[in-house]
Symmetry: C2
Subunit: 339 residues, 2 copies
């Protein structure tokens, strides 16, 4: 690693002071036209790059955003892409840390990012996260923070998320409209907010349509894909056999689909199926899977925008919450009434 040319080198070579060089490079007013030219020419020639560390130390800001996410699945990767795009545009660089759905690693990551002196945080909490001391620590230090996707309620901080309850509603409503009467729910981990919200929408819609809820038709399973198969098998061989399944993620839906086919049931005739996330792959399968679009990219962008706004203005945004409305894409897996 070779020594970078510094402002001092230029100053020395031109027999002027570092202050002058600094001003010349930044087009400050009081510097002679001649010196300015000379400085710029030499800077170009020596491939001078200002040292960001020195600047950060002085200005007390690093132009870096710390992002903590539970993993890098399709949805989160897409969201990160959205964040990245906006952040880059605004001159920020992001540091992405995966908590791997572990609370411990989430804490370690906050600590690391904290003493990497990031300017702020953008976080989606892990499914294990039930206590929020690390979040509060960030707040106490008055460091900008935005939560997204998997947010925490009862905490005063800007949030960007999907209306998951609505997502649960539209999926369930659609299945009812298609004439399914016995709708099962493949839910995620018990304490995961987004899962429970979708479940809430499901329950609500069933009640609204005077369909009684059968607890045996609701199965919580991990996002591990094998669980989905086991759960589905359980459902379809139980005493109260469902005629439709609403899965809380496309991965779960795909697992369910496999089992349904294995059992020789036809989709959508005998069993209807709706997923969540609208991953591209849902369109590629046979049958294609109906799914709820959650606008991951847009959520990412909106999150970053709020963050940037927080950095640039002094107004309190701690109560701000942006909620995206989901949209159902109806495909073969649930469309048995011709339209």
């Amino acid at each position: 690693m070779e020594r970078q040319t510094t402002i001092k080198d230029i100053a020395l070579a031109l027999r002027i002071s570092t202050s002058t060089v600094s001003r010349a490079l930044r087009d400050a007013p009081d510097v002679g036209i001649e010196t300015r030219k000379a400085v710029k020419a030499l800077a170009e020639e020596l491939d001078y790059q200002p040292n960001k560390l020195a600047l950060s130390l002085l200005k007390k800001q690093t132009n870096t955003i710390g992002i903590i996410i539970p993993n890098l699945d399709y949805v989160l990767a897409t969201m990160v892409k959205g964040i990245d795009e906006v952040a880059l545009e605004a001159g920020y660089t992001v540091m992405v840390c995966q908590s791997d759905e572990s609370f411990g690693r989430e804490m370690v990551n906050t600590k690391r990012l904290l003493d990497s002196l990031v300017d702020g945080f953008i976080i989606s909490v892990s499914s294990e996260t039930m206590v929020f001391d690390h979040i509060k620590k960030i707040q106490n230090k008055k460091i900008p923070l935005v939560l997204f996707d998997r947010v925490i309620n009862n905490i005063s901080v800007p949030k960007v998320r999907l209306d998951n309850v609505e997502g649960g509603r539209i999926a369930t409503k659609h299945l009812i409209d298609q004439g399914y009467k016995n709708i099962a729910l493949l839910a995620g981990p018990e304490n995961l907010n987004i899962s429970n919200e979708r479940k809430e929408g499901y329950l609500e819609t069933l009640k609204q349509n005077k369909i009684k809820v059968d607890k045996n038709l609701i199965i919580h399973c991990d996002f591990n894909q094998e669980y989905a198969k086991v759960a589905t098998r359980e459902l379809l061989t139980g005493k109260n056999k469902p005629d439709a399944i609403f899965a809380i993620s496309d991965r779960l839906a795909i697992g369910a689909m496999t089992v349904i086919k294995e059992l020789g049931l036809s989709i959508p005739k005998e069993i209807g199926l709706v997923g969540f996330n609208n991953e591209p792959i849902t369109q590629l399968l046979t049958p294609s899977i109906s799914s709820v679009e959650m606008y991951a990219f847009e959520i990412g962008k909106a999150t970053a925008k709020i963050f940037i706004e927080m950095m640039h203005s002094e107004v309190d945004m701690s109560e701000k919450e942006i909620v995206f409305k989901p949209k159902l894409f109806i495909r073969e897996s649930s469309n048995r009434i011709r339209k």
Copy 2:
């Protein structure tokens, strides 16, 4: 954002010098037991965190690795996870930038990371990248660099990658062993190394088995999933209809599978299918898809290990190349001879 407590605050409060505080905190030898205790106690109380920027400026190293990748699909996300794990362990933090398969963005990213003063680079080049000035720039500055997955040949730098030719071979050989005679290739973009290497393995194996190559059976298509469907339709309705398809990625394979089913052909009886990457989803589909495992996580870890090694030793590793051997997982989509 509140002011962090600094070494100076502690020094002032204890009426000692900053140097003493610094030494006390780092357990340096020449500092009295009493002062040491006092310093540590106060540091604890004030929640003192050393300022990394100041340290980095002084030591000229940031403990940060810049990672540039074309996107965040399953394979790369898995690799990044591997890198992350090893890097974290060694005290490094990673900055991940996506080039989005664009050469321009790859250059912009290198520049950004370069003047973020990362300690080194870990790069997988975009499919557009045909000129390597940015890579050479890194080398000229003598900054550690490791290429992985999509590497560049004819360039003297450590690399970690899969033996893609072998991957092409085992997939093709397997299809031949299963009695398929007319094997098509769904390849990736024309100038993508990994794609061409897999193709090479395919061609080589055909020749070795005295099967003549039909150029019409080789279709290059983008990783965009829709292309795969178009290409497959083209293949299966052309004059020389293949009885098997080797797809260079699972996504392409899934697209192909959809079309095969649409056309009413049975898998694996009439058409055999093998994918690449061994994504978890290949096991979930019906039929499950045979696929070549590329050990993404391990490749990520190996890459990071080489990087760390480069940082800690002075030996030249520019010729080092770690090549992982792929392994075929045989599933329903290509298994028509009972075993």
